[in-house]
Symmetry: C2
Subunit: 537 residues, 2 copies
């Protein structure tokens, strides 16, 4: 076979040649912006040419600090296709961590949304590697800013060369992107994506047996483009020429539902928190969401009850998936096998609320207390992954050796696997409650609580216990209508009916809100501290 | 990203772990044989272990000389996964060419079907590299044979080690298979497939926007496993755990229709000749073919009329594709774009009877008399391909330099491409008729003829002409009912109504049958000789 490198260039050029008429819809501060793939590729080429004239060379890191929109999409291709590295900075990190990762990656140029400029201004003096700031604004003029030197994205594009030719000699193992992932303690850890990894991951996302992303889809990544490349959806969408809907700055559930309804979105992807929010609005207002053929949900486990409500009440098919920043991210997808389609609705829902089976292209192991776990849906172990789009290290980071061992990514996720190979996450290794020498899954308890009609959100953490080592404590946010009407005893009894006695939390605390991480996951560390204060102060 | 090689081992092991219950159906001389993927992988491991004990090492070539059946499928994985090279020998080649390619590949072991043993016996003394013959028989005892040394496949499997562990250190660029393709003149030319190429090709076949092969499919490759790896379908099917139906020795259209009906085949793949034969039977007998979601057709262009008949009369959706041995083979697929679905039935059929747009992962060019052709559906040029599953050379063959130039495969196929990027093959470079300095597509004329209700098959070739350089002559096989009732003048008038005057053939000859190559393509060389004799003797 030819010695042909797997890079992003032919992905972009396939869209340019075969899908120039297809549409990209971008929500901006100035309203809905629409253009074609032809425009998109032309502007991407312009962006590459001006970055080059700003001194960006192969291997240089170019950071983005932005929401999901068309300019960010241009950067997604313009930067890697010219041989530079797209560093998508998480806008929800603390300023301290933002400064840390920009310095750690040694970013040379920073593309920043107008509304996010003030955040960067706060730390500008801490960013010696940045040689140019490019502000992505919808206004004709640059906003007043202390950033220096500063350029207008649109003015640069106007000066750009739309015939800029992408190199065809990039190494497939060359870095194309970077994303930092939060650590339990300490600074975020950097994951470097290669052209080859993203090429292969992008193909996997289009398989009929995964998300089946297709040219016929209208795709809306709600998952941020600063979070694991929006799960790689922009890359696959461009390759296949799918219509894209990018929901722009600060999308609320209503904004997202408006876009789904107006643009007839067929495929949307987000973390459970996003879907909870959308569900809340759907239960109060009328929206036509009949175009949706799949609501992809990953990042954390979605409770069975939520999936059921989405499907039975609103006719939105839920597609549960699993992955992480280190796995590009797609690792498992929960599609029913052909012979499982004859099961009862309840049985099917049980299967589909698991994280699913391994996608083609990867390998996995689940390692318990004594080697590979049994495929019995019971024995817990840590999920290990390897494959061509699994990271092999953290970028310049000593913590590499804690996570990447003997050629496998140790995900830190505790899982069980059933007879059919469906993986179900039961916890993070660090969140598992170790009570009396046995393991208790906090996620199982949370999902059970969230299936109670009065519960909006629930989180369970372990607190130190003199006799049992650790014991679980539950934190619950009630739905608006249920506040003050439901007692903790009722919820604990609800759990007692479903779990063995020693799994039931020792206490249950009502909160107004569960603290969340920058990517919408429950911040269990904070809850544990709160619990410790509550019980031991 | 990890340094993870793309090989067949994880493809096989995914099936073993996640789809052990799924079924493989194999038509044998002893009737229908059924087993599970668990059995299939177990026996594949046994086969590898016995091949190893017969002296097969990494890189050694092991030949198969066989129909499409479960043992051949076992060889498809057992040989490459142990690091050896699967050489699928075309059983329809001349004995001279069979001996040539076995010697050229230096095959060490030959697996041969019982009914094909006599062919190999004829050339046994010409095969010095073969150290062992393994006969794949459905009988308990080996047939009487002069082959030496000779083994029974089933007896070897019984002695094999079902726990044989496949190496995980194979190089992704290592050869996994070989297939020889016929040359216009001279010996067949060898194409070597790498693990990486087949891994990537297999993924492409599962994309929603190509064949969308899925676990839910029941797949029947009619295209022989000795021909371009049955278009790679066995690899993708195993990876995804699809039910497979292998039609066994000498499948007739009735046998194929029985299998489609009984096994509820959803996806079948074959060359136009196969589909013509099936159509003929369907027009006379009742079959339930409602399970078929796609009839994949490649190898040669299928005429629009055939596609229309399949779809409108029998409700079988046709999926036109293009590729060649050198391209693994999938290169283009003719799926409608989303916005083309609103066109009229006739317009849609016009598009779908083209070879389609480039599949994700490849690059293409069409080079005419003055560089890249216009995307106008008119200008003809040679189709060039490059990508990770495109061959880079012929195996130890001086003819490499004629076909692989500047990093591109020169397909020898003449094509036009329309505004939407749909490629339409108009001829082979060597078959184009050059008349008065202009090109005439023999394929266009053939398709027009085959759309006539009286015509079963048609082939057009160029013959030398003193004034115009070349002129087209048509050869036609009439349908049974039309024989003796249709004159050549009627058919030529039929063409005159559709083509500019100078395209219409100078003569039209009725034949009882059109001579075909070993893979079912029209043998134009023979027709040209026949025409020359006819006009110049």
């Amino acid at each position: 076979m030819m010695n042909y490198p797997l890079t992003l260039r032919p992905i972009l050029e396939r869209a340019e040649k075969f899908f120039p008429k297809k549409e990209i819809v971008s929500r901006t501060s100035a309203g809905i912006f629409r253009y074609t793939y032809a425009d998109f590729v032309r502007r991407s080429r312009c962006l590459s040419s001006v970055l080059e004239s700003l001194g960006v060379h192969r291997g240089d890191r170019v950071a983005t600090f932005a929401w999901n929109h068309h300019r960010h999409l241009e950067a997604y291709f313009a930067i890697p296709c010219m041989g530079a590295v797209l560093h998508t900075v998480n806008i929800r990190l603390s300023l301290e961590h933002i400064a840390y990762i920009i310095n750690h990656a040694e970013d040379k140029v920073l593309l920043v949304d107008e509304d996010l400029v003030p955040l960067i201004e706060n730390i500008q003096h801490q960013l010696p590697s940045i040689q140019a700031y490019i502000v992505m604004t919808d206004q004709p003029e640059l906003p007043a800013t202390t950033l220096q030197p500063v350029y207008s994205y649109e003015q640069l594009i106007e000066q750009g060369d739309s015939a800029y030719a992408y190199p065809d000699d990039l190494d497939e193992n060359a870095p194309m992107g970077m994303c930092y992932t939060s650590a339990t303690t300490g600074n975020p850890k950097g994951v470097v994506y290669s052209h080859r990894g993203i090429f292969l991951h992008s193909m996997t996302f289009g398989l009929a047996d995964t998300a089946a992303l297709s040219e016929t889809d209208t795709v809306m990544p709600i998952v941020p483009m600063f979070h694991a490349n929006a799960w790689g959806i922009p890359f696959t969408s461009v390759w296949l020429g799918a219509k894209q809907v990018l929901p722009g700055p600060g999308p609320t559930p209503k904004i997202l539902l408006d876009l789904i309804q107006q643009e007839k979105v067929t495929l949307a992807a987000g973390v459970p928190t996003i879907w909870f929010g959308i569900l809340k609005v759907l239960e109060e207002e009328q929206y036509d969401v009949s175009s949706l053929r799949a609501a992809i949900c990953g990042g954390s486990a979605a409770p069975r009850g939520i999936i059921e409500t989405f499907e039975t009440k609103f006719g939105i098919p839920f597609l549960h998936a699993y992955g992480m920043t280190e796995s590009s991210p797609l690792a498992t997808v929960s599609c029913l096998k052909s012979y499982q389609r004859e099961l009862s609705q309840g049985e099917k829902l049980d299967i589909r609320s698991k994280q699913g089976i391994l996608v083609p292209g990867l390998e996995m192991k689940i390692i318990g207390k004594s080697g590979d776990v049994k495929w019995d849906g019971q024995e817990m172990g840590e999920l290990l992954l390897r494959g061509p789009w699994i990271a092999g290290e953290y970028y310049n980071d000593d913590r590499t050796k804690e996570t990447f061992i003997d050629g496998w990514l140790h995900t830190g996720d505790v899982a069980v696997i059933d007879e059919e190979g469906f993986v179900k996450l039961v916890d993070r290794t660090k969140d598992l409650v170790k009570s009396g020498g046995e393991w208790i899954s906090t996620v199982d308890l949370e999902n059970a609580l969230m299936a109670h009609p009065a519960v909006f959100e629930a989180s369970v953490v372990g607190v130190p216990h003199p006799k049992w080592d650790e014991r679980p404590i539950a934190f619950v946010v009630l739905k608006e209508g249920a506040k003050g009407k439901v007692e903790k005893e009722e919820l604990l009894a609800f759990l007692q009916a479903q779990f063995t006695k020693w799994w039931v939390p020792d206490d249950l605390v009502f909160l107004a809100e569960i603290p969340k991480t920058s990517v919408g996951k429950f911040m269990k560390r904070m809850l544990r501290e709160q619990a410790k204060e509550h019980y031991f102060s």
